[in-house]
Symmetry: C2
Subunit: 159 residues, 2 copies
């Protein structure tokens, strides 16, 4: 077993910390880019909700959105109020459960999402090269594996 092999197999908690630190930095930087693609009076979180509804489909309940966004019910409640006031969504009471609502996108909301995605795609496209897409594509399976691992253990408690 030579030195090279030793080094390559000697992974531990240090790599885990480095991994999460890098992921954190990456997210901060990419969020900053996203922010620049969203009109000033709107927040990233509003985009996330609209984007989620476009991708996963209309008619979701606030609670479903809550778990998709990893935020509290109160936060979603507030965000939906903002989005409704801006005319990006409409809500209707659920037909089967009088406690519940359903959230629907308006044309304006879909337009907002399309605009933001377009701008973001152009922004990324302005500096991402084939080589970069390849690096991301090849790292993706690892990211997915670790993300799923965290998800499976998201109820783990210290001690």
């Amino acid at each position: 077993m030579n030195v090279e092999r030793l080094r390559n197999t000697n992974y531990g908690p240090a790599e885990a910390f480095a991994y999460f630190t890098e992921a954190c930095e990456t997210v901060q930087l990419s969020e900053a880019m996203l922010d620049r693609c969203i009109p000033g009076e709107l927040h990233r979180s509003h985009f996330y909700i609209v984007n989620h509804l476009v991708r996963k489909g209309d008619g979701q309940t606030p609670l479903q959105i809550t778990s998709a966004m990893h935020v509290t019910k109160a936060t979603v409640s507030n965000s939906l109020a903002v989005l409704e006031k801006r005319g990006f969504i409409e809500t209707r009471p659920s037909a089967t459960d009088a406690r519940s609502k359903q959230v629907f996108l308006t044309e304006s909301g879909r337009e907002f999402q399309k605009q933001a995605i377009g701008t973001l795609t152009r922004l990324f496209g302005s500096f991402l090269r084939e080589e970069d897409y390849r690096i991301m594509g090849e790292a993706l399976p690892s990211l997915v594996t670790i993300r799923k691992l965290l998800h499976r253990n998201s109820n783990a408690t210290p001690d």
Copy 2:
């Protein structure tokens, strides 16, 4: 050129979006774990500042912390006030610039950081296996490459 090769070289914006989405999910989940390792009356951001001072050294100015944390001056100003009230840091006016301060950790602050890191390490250690450390270690160079790429282009503007 067979199908396998075609598939493997056909990377584009879709991979970029997936990459950032996965990174975002990963960060949210790992932050949730960190939150569980920090006493209830303190915030993750307070830990980040103390951790930064332990790792990069005492005596930094608020402005230096500002750029390291990727937050505004006002945010750091507020966070430092909290940390000073809790007795985790002390501030002294700079000897060479009367506008500036320097931030120093107290023993209590160092203890807080050590505790949190220890708890977090144990929490991660409770479900991360050798295989997982390896996956993270091997993905690390890609994460670093993309993070640096984002950093270099962090001034890019949408059109």
